[in-house]
């Protein structure tokens, strides 16, 4: 039996013809996967309406069709601007994004008065807003692909981006709480009715800087070391930048009252250092520093209170959410109950009670979706995240320059860490912190930042998979003398 979904190129005959390169770009596979994903989103929309409204309205396909048009546009952009990019990234992200929009629209349907439900306008409510944000984010991602023809070009702005990243991280901390605090976490900048989360963009900017810095320093970090207990530890002075980032992430923890964000920044940095140096000692140092810092904050929060009190409270909730189920532990308890009542196969799209969950459009969207699609569906979503991350790491392996490797590896890891922090939080594996679930949660900042991240991954994977003699290849560089002159044998050393 031959599977039609996997267009395997026949290796025996595809040898010398130059046209074979086009066959390897896998864009048609991407297109069919994308259409499958959009069919799933449309089916989800129809099922929600069938359950909530008891009938499928004739316009049920409009949001799904709008999303399909947007993503097909992105597909065309990739086809022209990054023809060798990874074929799995766009469909996987499109499915998550589409299901997110579908679920938010489902919340709108549940909230609306019964007589208004049937004619909910397409851009109305949080679902409609999310649809609009998706449109903007995809346009931004396409713009980034068009502007950045070579991922190495952003390393030129590494220091600018690093500075911008630190400013963005620190901005909510120094602004007064009336502008920056929502639900106890100072992560926001509110201008009128708009609120943006600068930290989401800081992630990307800081990662570009980390990658650039580490490409410069990797030799020192990986070669100069003391051997202790069988593990190579770095020299004290090389620890400097790590300690600086550690201090910044602890400041975030204390002043922005957000464990997740601080874990995200620090984990991102440690992972990039590890990718750059391949030294396990860096992971150990990172873990010890983070857990030591978090434990210190917990102890201080118990004894002193003040800025550490928030973290202490969250840790208490995590340790025993049922101690005060209607008070502090309410969110987490409701999330756990939603996941539990979902069970293995869930109540079916539209069949749950997501409005009982606080913050269901945001932090708890995974619990809300989980109530309706169950463990079986949630694990599919997690595997899709896993595949996106795997494609990112694969792009890092395939690309040939160190900066691209670090950038793609770091971005993929950051995405994975963010999913871990929020899903771990709502399932009571780690203390709950308000992170957005990438591509699912309502919120323009998060959606935009994550689509930009995907654009960078697409660009890097395009560079990694592009055949060497392709357009813009390395061998047809105009500058510099021919390589043969450099490579002319000047000495022959006999072994």
């Amino acid at each position: 039996m031959t599977a039609p979904a996997t267009p395997a190129s026949s290796p025996a005959t595809a040898g010398e013809r130059p046209g074979v390169r086009m066959a390897r770009s896998r864009r048609n596979a991407e297109l069919s996967l994308l259409l499958l994903a959009m069919a799933l989103v449309a089916a989800y929309g129809a099922m929600v309406e069938a359950k909530v409204l008891d009938t499928v309205t004739p316009g049920f396909w409009v949001p799904a069709a709008t999303l399909t048009a947007v993503f097909l546009g992105m597909h065309l952009v990739i086809r022209f601007l990054a023809p060798f990019a990874d074929p799995a990234l766009l469909p996987a992200v499109a499915l998550l994004n589409g299901l997110g929009v579908g679920f938010l629209r489902r919340l709108d349907l549940a909230k609306a008065a019964p007589e208004e439900r049937a004619d909910l306008a397409i851009f109305a409510g949080i679902g409609g807003r999310q649809l609009a944000w998706t449109l903007i984010s995809v346009v931004l991602a396409a713009g980034l692909l068009a502007l950045m023809r070579d991922h190495r070009s952003i390393s030129r702005y590494a220091y600018t981006l690093g500075l911008a990243g630190i400013v963005l991280v620190m901005l909510p901390a120094v602004l007064p709480a009336s502008i920056s605090e929502i639900n106890g976490a100072k992560l926001w900048v509110r201008i009128g009715s708009f609120s943006i989360q600068p930290g989401e963009f800081a992630k990307l900017a800081l990662l570009v800087f980390f990658a650039y810095y580490l490409v410069r320093k990797r030799e020192v970090l990986s070669l100069a070391s003391h051997r202790f207990l069988g593990i190579d530890f770095p020299r004290g002075r090389d620890l400097g930048p790590v300690l600086v980032v550690w201090a910044i992430s602890l400041l975030v923890l204390v002043f922005e009252k957000d464990l997740g964000t601080s874990l995200l920044y620090f984990g991102m940095f440690v992972a990039t250092v590890y990718i750059a140096t391949e030294r396990v000692s860096w992971l150990l140092i990172g873990l010890v520093l983070f857990f030591g810092g978090a434990y210190l904050a917990y102890v201080l929060g118990d004894a002193v209170g003040g800025p550490f009190a928030n973290f202490y409270l969250r840790a208490q909730i995590w340790l025993d959410p049922f101690a005060q189920p209607y008070d502090e532990g309410y969110q987490l308890v409701q999330g756990l109950l939603a996941l539990g009542s979902g069970g293995l196969f869930g109540a079916g799209p539209g069949g749950g009670q997501p409005l009982l969950l606080p913050e269901v459009q945001n932090d708890f969207i995974f619990a809300g979706i989980g109530e309706e699609i169950g463990l079986f569906g949630l694990s599919a979503l997690l595997v899709i995240y896993l595949l996106i991350v795997e494609r990112g790491l694969r792009a890092a392996l395939a690309v040939r320059d160190s900066f691209g490797k670090l950038l793609a590896g770091g971005l993929a890891f950051t995405l994975a860490l963010q999913v871990f922090v929020i899903v771990g939080g709502i399932s009571k594996l780690i203390p709950l912190t308000g992170q957005t679930t990438p591509f699912l949660s309502a919120g323009g900042s998060s959606l935009m930042a994550n689509w930009l991240l995907i654009a960078v991954l697409l660009r890097v994977s395009d560079a990694g998979r592009r055949p060497v003699d392709g357009a813009g290849g390395k061998v047809t560089r105009p500058s510099g003398p021919p390589e043969q002159l450099h490579g002319a044998p000047t000495e022959v050393i006999k072994p």
């Binding site: 290796p11 595809a14 390169r21 499958l36 799933l40 469909p91 079986f376 160190s402 290849g473 510099g480």
Partner: protein, 162 residues
């Protein structure tokens, strides 16, 4: 809406979700397990029926049928890297403008290059300090590289794959 339809749709949706997951896995299957042996070990079936009189021509035919399409790094810092081969030569070394930039302490700036000639790839040492080895033999002049035979440069090891 009849309850039956909704129940069927509910489970159908979950099944469709997993079908999507496995289709994605199918599309990327080829390089999910990089570093593992390539799955295409079976030669073209037409050589199986060839008469015994052409026994000497057989390996040549198989070889030509399985032209090298990829250069895979199997050991060293870049292990797992793949380069899709075209018609252009591949230069290997520590210099930033090499096609394959290897950060290997035992590699020279311009260490070796791979050149295609009539569908066959040749490895050539570019006067490196520590030498290039094809399997166990030191490369002195342009040497044809069979599929799957490791080219060793310092701690890095490369192979041609179909």
């Amino acid at each position: 809406m009849p309850e039956l339809v909704i129940t069927v749709a509910r489970f159908g949706f979950l099944v469709l979700l997993w079908i999507f997951v496995f289709t994605v896995v199918g599309v990327i299957r080829r390089d999910l397990f990089a570093g593992a042996r390539s799955g295409r070990l079976v030669a073209a079936p037409r050589t199986v029926g060839a008469s015994t009189g052409q026994a000497t021509a057989k390996p040549a035919k198989v070889k030509r049928g399985r032209a090298a399409h990829q250069l895979v790094v199997t050991a060293g810092q870049l292990a797992g890297t793949r380069i899709t081969l075209g018609e252009a030569q591949i230069t290997i070394g520590r210099a930033e403008d090499s096609t394959l930039v290897i950060t290997d302490d035992y590699a020279s700036a311009r260490h070796a290059r791979l050149v295609p000639r009539d569908g066959q790839w040749f490895v050539e040492d570019l006067g490196s300090t520590n030498g290039t080895y094809l399997d166990r033999a030191k490369v002195t002049g342009p040497t044809p590289v069979p599929l799957g035979v490791p080219i060793r440069i310092g701690r890095t090891s490369l192979e041609l794959r179909p």
